[in-house]
């Protein structure tokens, strides 16, 4: 049996330079400009005059080793075995010979991977595990993403939008998909306070930790049926599930009340407007697997309102800031409710503190 001593540890990842195509090694740090040639295809031109062509293809992110081997084969066939993935989980093939581009695109399509996502398009949806892997999920991840992108695919494969549009999904408030700064964010939400499993809570969790986990002080220690446990002041609960994160006996999943919320207008880049958080557009839509039609419809509505109304380069949040939130709600037809009004820590700062109003 292997002992600790003959194990290699703490070696870190292989150095990236092992994987760079020669054209990149040669022109590293010497790129001059780039141009988008057509949907999903761009060229970077180096000071040396060398050119690097990138073909970007969609990916469901959850990919099997079979698919990965197909990608590897395509990389061998078209670009000396060189490929990379993007920060939004697309796959990119790195070519030096532009004549091979169309064949590559055809091959990618043949295995079900449309090419696009560059420039003023909707790129891949950053997302998370959902029911495929996470204990915490209030909705599925990959399934919702599939449905939404099936519907929006035209915007991935074409560049007909005013600017970039970035969608992200997280299946619970932990927000592993970091949806909080997305043009459109799809967020799984619980809406029922934890169902405390009094039986044995005491053994799997430390009660003081559970109590401390609650940001609204909704949890307090209690004896239930002679067992040391906790009780939840339900009217104080806003379903963050932080108690569940520290204690499995605080069950949050609840088919009747779990669902999806939709947020809009966040961004990350510093281009034009500073980074912004996304804001609540739709507080709740039910989980309706397998195709989540309500979510798909809501996202499309938002995309279309923006696509139609935004000025060139204007991201969702910039667009809404210009037209004002009242008009956003009018144009989308979404209902404005009590839930849209912040009532957490910094609530007051989101109230409209001026008389600058459009006529309604």
């Amino acid at each position: 049996m292997a002992t600790a001593t003959d194990r290699r540890t703490d070696i870190g990842p292989p150095n990236y330079s092992r994987f760079l195509p020669p054209v990149i090694k040669k022109n590293y740090g010497q790129w001059k400009y780039h141009e988008i040639l057509k949907p999903g295809v761009m060229v970077h031109v180096a000071e040396s005059g060398d050119k690097l062509f990138t073909v970007r293809a969609a990916s469901p992110r959850l990919v099997s080793i079979k698919k990965l081997r197909q990608f590897a084969d395509l990389a061998d066939k078209y670009c000396g075995g060189h490929l990379r993935f993007t920060s939004r989980n697309n796959v990119e093939f790195l070519l030096t010979d532009p004549s091979k581009i169309d064949a590559l695109i055809a091959d990618l399509k043949a295995i079900g991977h449309p090419v696009g996502g560059l420039g003023n398009s909707i790129s891949n949806i950053v997302h998370t595990q959902g029911w495929v892997h996470c204990h915490s999920a209030a909705t599925d991840a990959s399934g919702v993403v599939k449905c939404v992108m099936d519907d929006l695919q035209e915007y991935f494969t074409q560049m007909k939008l005013p600017g970039k549009l970035r969608i992200a999904l997280a299946c619970c408030l932990n927000m592993c998909g970091a949806v909080h700064c997305s043009d459109i964010a799809i967020l799984g939400v619980h809406r029922r306070p934890p169902k405390v499993q009094h039986d044995g809570l005491n053994k799997v969790c430390e009660i003081p930790n559970v109590v401390a986990a609650c940001p609204t002080a909704a949890i307090r220690p209690a004896m239930v049926d002679g067992k040391q446990s906790v009780e939840v002041l339900e009217e104080r609960c806003m379903f963050c599930a932080n108690c569940f994160s520290v204690c499995p006996a605080m069950q949050m999943a609840d088919p009747l009340n779990d669902g999806v919320s939709i947020w809009v207008g966040g961004k990350v880049s510093n281009a034009r407007h500073e980074p912004m958080f996304s804001k609540l557009a739709v507080p709740y839509l039910p989980n309706t697997p397998p195709r989540w039609p309500e979510v798909v419809q809501a996202v499309r509505t938002i995309v279309e309102v923006w696509a139609k109304g935004a000025r060139k380069y204007e991201r969702m949040g910039e667009f809404i800031e210009r037209i004002g939130w009242p008009r956003f709600f009018k144009l989308t037809g979404f209902e404005f409710t009590k839930q849209h009004i912040d009532d957490f820590r910094h609530a007051g700062l989101t109230y409209k503190r001026s008389a600058q109003l459009r006529q309604s």
């Binding site: 408030l173 927000m175 909080h180 967020l187 939400v189 809406r191 029922r192 306070p193 940001p215 609204t216 009217e235 609960c237 806003m238 379903f239 963050c240 609840d254 009747l256 009340n257 919320s261 947020w263 207008g265 958080f277 996304s278 804001k279 609540l280 557009a281 507080p283 039910p286 210009r322 037209i323 004002g324 939130w325 009242p326 956003f328 709600f329 404005f336 409710t337 009590k338 839930q339 849209h340 009004i341 912040d342 009532d343 957490f344 820590r345 609530a347 007051g348 700062l349 989101t350 109230y351 409209k352 503190r353 001026s354 008389a355 600058q356 109003l357 459009r358 006529q359 309604s360």
Partner: protein, 400 residues
């Protein structure tokens, strides 16, 4: 200079110099007749020397039947300056818009000459006529004489504070409702709330005729009533042209400063996309002859401004984007009463309305006072995902 008591006020004397009118001169001008003013000078000189005030907390002093209107004040240095041992102020409700006749002024002066220091603030920060410095024994006589001349006290303590308003339609072409009339009406209608503190804390109302907000209502009033309109800005194109001919850079200085960039000037015609105008007033302010607010006028009601103690200052926020304001103002008075009712029931001691709203949540507050939530009330919808729901489905419930 030595004051008439023979005491020196070398530090204060420095404040008689310089071009700006001097409050020291004002006090000194009374010092001959008024021992109170002499002692005030003495104590103030001492404050200037020692770099600290010498006033004590006031006890409860007032006139019979009223809980507000007088601020009690006593001196720590009552032995050294016996004439300011008591030095209460009286708040007298100003007439709307701070208009007076010379006779009215003289009437006030005469009363104050008889019963107090002869020093005033025209006006206090809330808007009252402030009579600065008298003794407890003088309060009833002053009150009697004031009311005989149709003046009454203003607010203090946990009551409705003296409402105030901008000059409005009496002189200003932009007033979108009659601020002076409304202010006067509300003041008279709510006399009981003004004189008999029964709220959790103070409540201020200020009426501004247009979004220029010349009474700073958005920053200083629990209820800010700000005039506005909901149709199109009135444009006199010939007058616009005259401004351009006169050298105004309309493109840069007017259109360029429009917060929503909803104006266009093509060198001949000024076009406004009124659906995007947020009524900021900038263009109107600077082309007074060419532009005017629309004709369908009313006001925006905002709630909740206050000074920073104890959780930070607040600006008022939108409650009603547009309301018509015509006598007898029933809708508005109704709204005010619903707010007071909820605040009276749920407000903690020393909790202003703005703080209450933050504590219970604007959404819950709206529900309680029976107002629908609308996006005009927020700068933007919430960013955090911590959404409260009062109810949830249980197994066996009907599906939604």
């Amino acid at each position: 200079m030595a004051d008439s008591n023979g005491k020196q006020t070398p530090l204060l004397d420095e404040l008689e110099k310089g071009p700006w009118p001097s409050f020291v001169k004002e006090i000194k001008s009374m010092a001959k007749e008024s021992p109170m003013c002499q002692d005030l000078l003495g104590q103030l000189e001492k404050s200037y020397g020692e770099k600290r005030g010498y006033w004590k907390h006031g006890g409860i002093v007032g006139v019979m039947g009223y809980g507000g209107g007088v601020i009690g004040r006593y001196s720590f240095l009552n032995e050294e300056f016996p004439h300011v041992a008591h030095f209460h102020t009286i708040r007298i409700n100003q007439p709307s818009g701070w208009f007076y006749t010379s006779d009215a002024i003289r009437t006030l002066c005469d009363i104050w000459e008889k019963h107090g220091s002869g020093l005033t603030n025209m006006h206090g920060s809330t808007g009252d006529i402030v009579f600065l410095g008298t003794q407890t024994s003088e309060l009833e006589p002053i009150f009697k004489e004031l009311t005989e001349k149709d003046f009454d006290l203003g607010g203090s303590g946990s009551d409705l504070r003296t409402p105030s308003c901008c000059v409005g339609q009496s002189r200003c072409e932009w007033a979108c409702y009659d601020t002076m009339q409304l202010c006067d009406h509300l003041t008279h209608h709510f006399q009981d709330e003004l004189h008999r503190p029964a709220f959790p804390y103070k409540f201020k109302i200020k009426c501004a005729g247009c979004p220029n907000d010349c009474v700073a209502s958005v920053a200083r009033a629990d209820m800010s009533i700000i005039g506005t309109w909901r149709d199109n800005i009135q444009i006199d194109q010939a007058a616009v042209k005259a401004y351009a001919d006169g050298g105004m850079n309309i493109e840069r200085d007017i259109c360029g400063n429009c917060p929503t960039k909803c104006m266009q000037w093509d060198g001949k015609t000024l076009t406004i996309d009124n659906s995007n105008c947020v009524k900021c007033m900038h263009c109107i302010n600077n082309m007074t002859k060419a532009l005017r607010p629309g004709k369908d006028r009313g006001a925006t009601i905002l709630l909740g401004a206050k000074a920073p103690i104890v959780d930070g200052a607040l600006l008022s926020s939108v409650l009603v984007p547009f309301i018509k304001l015509e006598p007898p103002y029933e809708e508005l008075k109704d709204l005010i009463e619903r707010i007071w009712e909820f605040w009276g029931e749920h407000g903690k001691n020393r909790e202003r309305t703005g703080e209450l709203i933050q504590r219970v949540g604007l959404g819950n507050f709206l529900e309680a006072i029976g107002v629908e939530p609308i996006p005009e009330m927020v700068a933007h919808p919430r960013e955090n995902p911590f959404i409260f729901y009062e109810e949830y489905l249980e197994e066996g419930d009907e599906e939604e």
